[in-house]
Amino acid sequence: MTVAKAMYRVFTEYDAELVEINPLALTTDGQLIALDVKVMIDDNSLFRHPDISVEDSDYTMEELEARKYGLHYVELTGYVGGIMANGAGLTMATMDLVKEYGHEPADFLDVGGGASKDSVKEGLKMLLTDDRIKAVLINIFGGITRCDEVARGVVEALNEVKTNKPIFIRLKGTNEEEGRKILAEVGLKTYETAEEAMEALSKAIKR
């Protein structure tokens, strides 16, 4: 009972998502001892827990670096799409599309709704300098996100990082004309649908 109460206190006082004791041992003299404990704290509650830092978390260096620019990055095991999209749902759908075409996605990179030029630039630089990645697939459906802003970020990244990785960009939505023009100036083609971009990517890389 004391153990359960203590766990509940940790759960509520520390905004925990998970409090787990496993295993809990009973000694021969009747004492309970937690042999291992796992606690997961809600990132979003850190403003009221100044004693806990996100640096202490189990995020990888790349994931922490990405967070600085408002990006959500998760490393996957694949080799193909350095995937970058706006919105978690669309980014996952883009990963799934890569798989649908018989390839393995290398990452989840969500530049977020309303992505800025700088976050696109930093995100793309991460993908271009990742040796595992053979080709990059960018899937932007601009709602809040502006396609011209994304295009400027792409161009700036290419100015800063030398690369021979092919890049396939699907650009649709708010200010797409302007975005397409900016990319055309540096010789980058854009596609109407994610499927068309993925088809072109499939042809370009051979397994």
Binding site: G89, M95, V98
Partner: protein, 297 residues
């Protein structure tokens, strides 16, 4: 029972956090869309106006001046968002759309529970794009230019933002309009789940077909499938689920709910649940349009 669900011509909106960057910007977009935004609240900013909308210090004051306000949209920063939700509930507002991102999950647990007891509908939080009944009212941040065709037979309920716009866009391009589009948010604790929205669509005379955009994590899709299996949904349902290639145990970006843990909420489990009750699951977002078309013919 009117046409469309949750929001319509009679929706009178209060914007909480109206003087902030996002609050002010989306107030302008909602007004441009034709939404009846009647007042805003930011403590300490009473007496000002934002895009012609009067600002009050409290929700109570706003309601005293505009008693016909029936809906609130919240842009208040995460640290203070919970307080603003309680304020809206206690003032008697019956529909609250929460746009604010990064609200602590323990805060959401408490106010979602409070809202349920008070009979208040909460949409979100967060990562929630809000609700639109095309050309009638938009309470949210969905892009205006996607929703330019009035009404239609398809109701959409979604855990995602951008993916919803994408599917809406393709449906509209194919000449298939939408009655109401509801983004319920991507967190593990949300005010209104997929099943509750499907029940609303089932009762809405305008909606003839239902599109469910789900993702990995949680058991919302499985619970919906079970309900469909009991025969209580007479309208055809088509689903799409993202996250087939997401690794287990990893949280996918801003969608804290999109995590497969302890064997629950996998892509396979959701697809299987839907297939068992004859709900077709699209392999790609664009395939949703094809599947809907099969029913319309």
């Amino acid at each position: 029972m009117g046409m469309a669900i949750l929001v319509n011509e009679n929706t009178k909106v209060l914007v909480q956090g109206i003087t902030g960057r996002e609050g002010s910007r989306h107030t302008e977009y909602m007004l441009q869309y034709g939404t009846k935004v009647v007042a805003g609240v930011t403590p300490g900013r009473g007496g000002q106006t934002v895009h012609g909308v009067p600002v009050f210090d409290t929700v109570e004051e706003a309601l005293r001046k505009f008693p016909d306000i029936n809906t609130s949209i919240i842009f208040v920063p995460a640290q203070f968002a919970a307080d603003s939700v309680y304020e809206a509930i206690d003032a008697g507002i019956k529909l609250i759309v929460i746009i604010t991102e990064h609200i602590p999950i323990h805060d959401a647990l408490r106010f979602v529970n409070y809202a349920k007891r008070k009979g208040v509908t909460i949409i979100g939080p967060p990562n929630c794009p809000g609700v639109v009944s095309p050309l009638r009212s938009k309470v949210g941040i969905l892009p205006n230019h996607i929703y330019t065709k009035s009404g239609g037979p398809v109701g959409i309920v979604s855990r995602s933002g951008t993916l919803t716009y994408e599917i809406s866009y393709h449906l509209t391009q194919a000449g298939i309009g939408q009655s109401t589009v509801v983004g319920i948010g991507g967190d593990p604790i949300i005010g209104t789940d997929t099943l509750e929205v499907v029940k609303m669509f089932e009762e809405d005379p305008e909606t003839k077909y239902i599109v469910v955009i789900g993702e990995i994590g949680g058991t919302m899709e499985e619970r919906l499938a079970k309900y469909i299996g009991s025969g209580k949904v007479t309208k055809p349902v088509v689903a799409y689920i993202s996250g087939r290639t997401a690794p287990p145990g990893k949280r996918m970006g801003g969608h804290a709910g999109a995590i497969v843990s302890m064997g629950m909420g996998s892509y396979e489990s959701k697809v299987k649940a839907f297939q068992e009750v004859n709900v077709p699951v699209a392999r790609t977002p664009t395939e949703v349009v094809k599947l809907i078309k099969q029913y319309i013919r």
